[in-house]
Amino acid sequence: MVGVSFPKRNKMMTSPNSLAVENLSVSYPDSKEPALQKVTLNVAASSILSIVGASGSGKSTLLRALCGLESPASGTIKLGGQVLCSSAKFVRPDRRKIGLVSQSGDLFPHLNVFQNLGYGLTNWRRADRKTRCKELLEAIGLPNFEKRFPHELSGGEKQRIALARALAPRPPLLLLDEPFSNLDSNLRQSLRRLTADILRKEKTTTIFVTHHPEDALSTGDSIAVMDSGTIIQCDTPRNLWRNPVSPVAASLFDQINQLPSSNFPNWLRANELELVEESHGGFTSGIIHEIEFFGKTQMVYVKIQNNLTPVIVEVASEEKYQIGSPISIKRKRLKAIQSKRLSTEHKQGICF
C-alpha cells in the first residue's frame, strides 16, 4: 500500500485536489522569529503527505495557515488550481473546502453522532445525508451509532467519528493534526490503518501531522520534515530513512548519536554501531553506563572518556553485558553514512 508512484508534475498541478503552497511565510507579532519561512510544498492529488517535526517547528502554524486561521505575511496557497490565499485574495476559512481533524477530535457535545456527521452537510437533502452518514459509519466500523452522543463514546470511537465528520462533505483536502496522540499505541496502530484505507477510498488529498515517527513512515506517501519554520527535507519514507539530510531530520525517526570526531561523519544511528571486547579494537572505548531493555532489542549506554554524553548502541536482546565493565565501540557497516547529494529541489526544502 505504501509503494506509490508519483505522477508527473504538470498533471499534478491541475488535478482538482492537488495542493500547491508557494513561499508561505507567517510570523506572529510577539516573536522575533517567523513561524513559517518561505515554505513551498506540493501535494499530489489523492496522496498523503506526513509532516513531522519537533514542537515549535511550525507544523501547527502551517495547518492553521492552510485552513485560513492565520494570515500569511507572504506566499500563495492554491488548491486544485483555485487560489485560496495570495497577496491579492484571501478566502475565508468557512469557504475553503478543507477538512480538519484536531488532536482532541472536538465532537460537538450537544449533538449526536448523526447530527455531528451531518453538520457540514446542511445543503444536502436529508436522504442524501442519511446515506452518506451510513456509508461513513460503516467505513469506520461503527454502524448504527447514529443516535449516540459523544460522551458515550470511547476515545478511539470519538476520533473515528471526528474523521468521518471531516470527510463527510468530501473535501478536496483534509488536514489531520496529530489525531492519534491521545490514544494508546495499539489503538493508534489500528486507527492508522483504518484511516489510510478510508483516505484511499475517498481519494482525499491529506496532510497528516504527527510526532510519532512510525505513523509518518507507515502512512505517508511522502514525508516532509520541518524545523524552525522551514521544510528541511521532503521525500518518500524509504529515501528519508536512508538519507536524512541532517542530524535533526534523522533524530525524528530514530535514536542517533552525535559524535564530533574527525574519523567519521558526525552522527551515527544506534543500530549502526556494535560492541566488541576492548582487545578487538573498536574506534573508541569506554565504560558501560546503563542498559535499557526493550524486548526486541537492548540499548547500551557507553560513557566514553573524553565525551560527556553517553553513546547509545543497539544490541540484540540475548546478549549480556555488565554495567561498569569496559567496552569498545565499532561501526557496523563500512559504507559511510553520508548525506547524498540531493537535488536542488530537496535542498531548498521544496517537496517534489
Binding site: P93, D94, P109, H110, R165, L175
Partner: protein
C-alpha cells in the same frame, strides 16, 4: 478567532455587524463610569464648591472610617462562615450534604435592609446589658459599648447574609486541584489540617479573593441597612448629598473619589487573582469520603449549620414573627400597592436580565471571534464597570449622561419624552450597567471552557462565525446563561439604592415599597412585600443550585 489580522473584506457581514454592536454596547456600558471620572477634573460652581468643602471637611473622614471598618469586619465574618463550610462540603460526603449545600446559598435571597429591620427586635435584647453598663460605669462607657455593639451587629449581619459569595468561591476553589493536591499532601504524611492550611488554602486564595471582593462591594454599596443602623458610609453620604442636599455636582465629585479607591481595590484583586496557577479541574477528583472520626463528623455539620442559622433561619423566623404580628392589620393592608410594586419589580428584573445576558453574549462572543485588542479591553472593562462601581456612583453617572443627552432633544418630541431623565429607560440602563458583570462573568467562564478548536472544526465544516456561535457555542452555554440570568434576576429584585435614586415617577418596587413603609414606621405592614421578595429570590436560587450550574464542565 476567526483569523488573525486580515483585510476587512474577509469578515462576514454578520460578524462585522456583531463587532459593531459589541463596540457600541461596550462603550455605552462604560459611559456612566466615564461621566463620573470626568468630574474628577471638572471645576465646581461656587455653590457646589461650598458644599464640597462641607463634605470634605466634616463628613468625609468619618465616612471613610466607617466604610473601612464595616468592609473589613464583614469580609472577615463572611470568610469565617463561608470557608469552612465550603471545605467540608467539597471534601467530605455526609448525609444531607445536598440539602445543606442548597440551604447554604439561600441567605443571598434576603436583602440586608430587611434583615436589619428584623434584627432590631433582637438587638433590643442587648439593651438591659447597656443599661447596666450605664449605671455601673457611666455614660462614656455606655456610649463606647453602644457604638461597638452596633458595629458588631451590623458586621455580623452582613457577614451572615453575604458569606455565600465566599462559600461559592471556596467550592470552586477546593474542588478540582484542591483535592488532588490535598491527596498528595496526605500521602506525604500531613494531617488534614496541615494539608488545608499549607496547600489547599494558598491555592484557593485567588478564587476566595474574588468571593471576598464581592462581599466588600456589597457592603460598600448598601444603603438601607447601613442607614438603619445609624452609620454614614460613603454611599450613605453620597445619597444624602444628592438627595438631601440636592447637590448633584458635588455628589459627582464625591463619587469620582469613591470610584478611584474602588478601582484600586479591583486592581489589587485582579493582580492577586492573576498570580493563581491555572486550575486543573481534573475530572476524577473525589472527596475524602465519609468523615472518619466523630469530631470530623460534628465539624462537618457544625460548619454548615452555623452559617445557615445565622443567615437563613434567624431572618426567616423574624419574618414569620412579623407576619404573625401583622395579622392584626390584614384588613388595612393595601394589596393593590403590593401587587403594583410586584409587577414593577418583575418587569424591571425580567427586562434587565434579558438585556444583561443578551449584551453579555454579544460583547463576549464578538471578543471571541475577533483579534482586535481594543475590543477585548472593552469586553474586559465593561465587565469591571458594574462590578467595581458602587450603585450610587452608577446612578449618578447615568443621571449625568441622561441629562446631557436629554438636553439635545426638545422635551415635547417623542424621543425627548423617551429620554427624559426620570424615565424608566435610565433606571434600566443603570441596573444593567451595575449587574452586567454578574451575567457576563458566568458567560465568560462558560465560553472559556469551550475550546477554540471546537469553533475551528465548525469553520472547517463550512459555517461562518455567526452560525457557529448560534449552533455550537450558544447551546453549550445554556447552563451558564441560566446561572447568570438567575443571579442577575435575584439581585435586581433585591436592589434598593438604585431604585430609590433613579426610579421614574410613581414607580415603586417591592424593595422601595418596604423601605418607605419602614420610613413611615409601618414596620409590620412591610412583612408581606418582604416575603414576596424573598420567596421569589429564593426560588430562583434553588432552581440554579438544583441545576448544578457550578458544575459546568459536564455538558448534556
Amino acid at each position: 478567532m476567526f483569523f488573525k489580522k486580515k483585510p476587512f473584506h474577509s469578515d462576514t457581514w454578520g460578524l462585522r455587524l456583531w463587532k459593531f454592536l459589541a463596540w457600541a454596547l461596550g462603550l455605552t456600558l462604560l459611559a456612566p463610569v466615564l461621566v463620573i471620572l470626568l468630574s474628577l477634573f471638572s471645576s465646581l460652581s461656587p455653590d457646589s464648591t461650598e458644599a464640597w468643602q462641607q463634605i470634605s471637611s466634616f463628613l468625609l473622614k468619618d465616612a471613610i472610617k466607617e466604610t473601612i471598618i464595616l468592609v473589613i469586619g464583614s469580609c472577615v465574618v463572611a470568610s469565617l462562615l463561608g470557608i469552612p463550610a465550603a471545605w467540608f462540603i467539597e471534601n467530605f460526603d455526609f448525609p444531607g450534604k445536598r440539602l445543606l449545600s442548597i440551604a447554604l446559598v439561600l441567605p443571598l435571597a434576603i436583602p440586608p435592609f430587611i434583615a436589619a429591620i428584623i434584627s432590631s427586635d433582637l438587638r433590643e435584647k442587648l439593651i438591659p446589658f447597656l443599661i447596666k453598663i450605664r449605671r455601673e460605669e457611666g455614660v462614656e462607657s455606655f456610649l463606647w459599648w453602644e457604638e461597638h455593639l452596633r458595629y458588631g451587629c451590623l458586621i455580623l449581619l452582613f457577614g451572615s447574609l453575604l458569606y455565600p459569595y465566599v462559600f461559592l468561591a471556596g467550592r470552586s476553589a477546593f474542588a478540582g486541584s484542591g483535592i488532588i493536591m490535598g491527596e498528595a499532601g496526605r500521602m506525604l504524611g500531613r494531617s488534614p489540617w496541615r494539608v488545608f492550611s499549607s496547600i489547599q488554602l494558598p491555592l484557593a486564595r485567588p478564587a476566595l479573593a474574588a468571593g471576598i471582593f464581592l462581599v466588600a462591594m456589597e457592603v460598600i454599596n448598601d444603603y438601607g441597612a447601613v442607614k438603619h443602623f445609624g452609620f454614614n458610609t460613603l454611599t450613605v453620604t453620597l445619597f444624602t448629598t444628592w438627595f438631601g442636599m440636592d447637590q448633584i455636582e458635588t455628589a459627582k465629585k464625591l463619587a469620582s473619589w469613591i470610584l478611584i479607591s474602588v478601582f484600586f481595590l479591583v486592581a489589587l484583586e485582579h493582580w492577586h487573582r492573576g498570580r493563581a496557577l491555572r486550575s486543573l479541574h481534573p475530572e476524577g477528583a473525589k472527596s475524602f469520603g465519609s468523615p472518619s472520626s466523630i469530631i470530623t463528623r460534628i465539624a462537618c455539620y457544625l460548619s454548615c449549620l452555623v452559617p445557615i442559622s445565622l443567615g437563613l433561619i434567624l431572618p426567616l423566623f423574624g419574618l414569620i414573627d412579623w407576619l404573625l404580628k401583622s395579622s392584626s392589620i390584614y384588613d388595612q393592608i393595601d394589596w393593590e400597592e403590593i401587587i403594583t410594586a410586584s409587577r414593577h419589580t418583575l418587569i424591571l428584573a425580567l427586562s434587565s436580565t434579558v438585556i444583561c445576558l443578551a449584551t453579555a453574549l454579544i460583547i463576549i462572543g464578538a471578543a471571541r471571534f475577533s483579534t482586535n485588542p481594543i475590543l477585548r479591553v472593552i469586553s474586559k472593562f465593561s465587565t469591571v464597570a458594574g462590578y467595581a462601581c458602587p450603585g450610587t456612583v452608577i446612578a449618578l453617572g447615568v443621571m449625568g449622561f441622561a441629562v446631557a443627552l436629554g438636553n439635545q432633544f426638545p422635551s415635547e418630541s417623542w424621543i425627548g419624552r423617551l429620554l427624559v431623565p426620570s424615565g424608566f429607560i435610565w433606571l434600566l440602563f443603570a441596573i444593567v450597567t451595575r449587574y452586567f458583570s454578574i451575567g457576563s462573568q458566568m458567560v465568560q467562564q462558560g465560553l472559556a471552557r469551550q475550546n477554540k478548536s471546537l469553533d475551528q472544526s465548525s469553520f472547517s465544516l463550512g459555517k461562518t462565525p455567526t452560525k457557529t456561535f448560534f449552533r455550537i457555542n450558544l447551546p453549550l452555554l445554556k447552563p451558564s446563561i441560566l446561572g447568570g440570568a438567575t443571579l442577575v434576576f435575584v439581585d435586581v429584585c433585591k436592589e434598593l439604592p438604585l431604585c430609590l435614586l433613579l426610579r421614574p415617577f410613581d414607580f415603586e418596587t417591592l424593595s422601595t415599597l418596604t423601605y418607605s413603609k419602614v420610613d413611615q414606621g409601618a414596620i409590620y405592614a412591610c412583612a408581606i412585600p418582604s416575603l414576596f421578595l424573598i420567596s421569589v429570590s429564593m426560588l430562583g436560587l434553588i432552581i440554579v443550585e438544583l441545576n448544578g450550574w457550578r458544575k459546568l464542565s459536564k455538558t448534556k
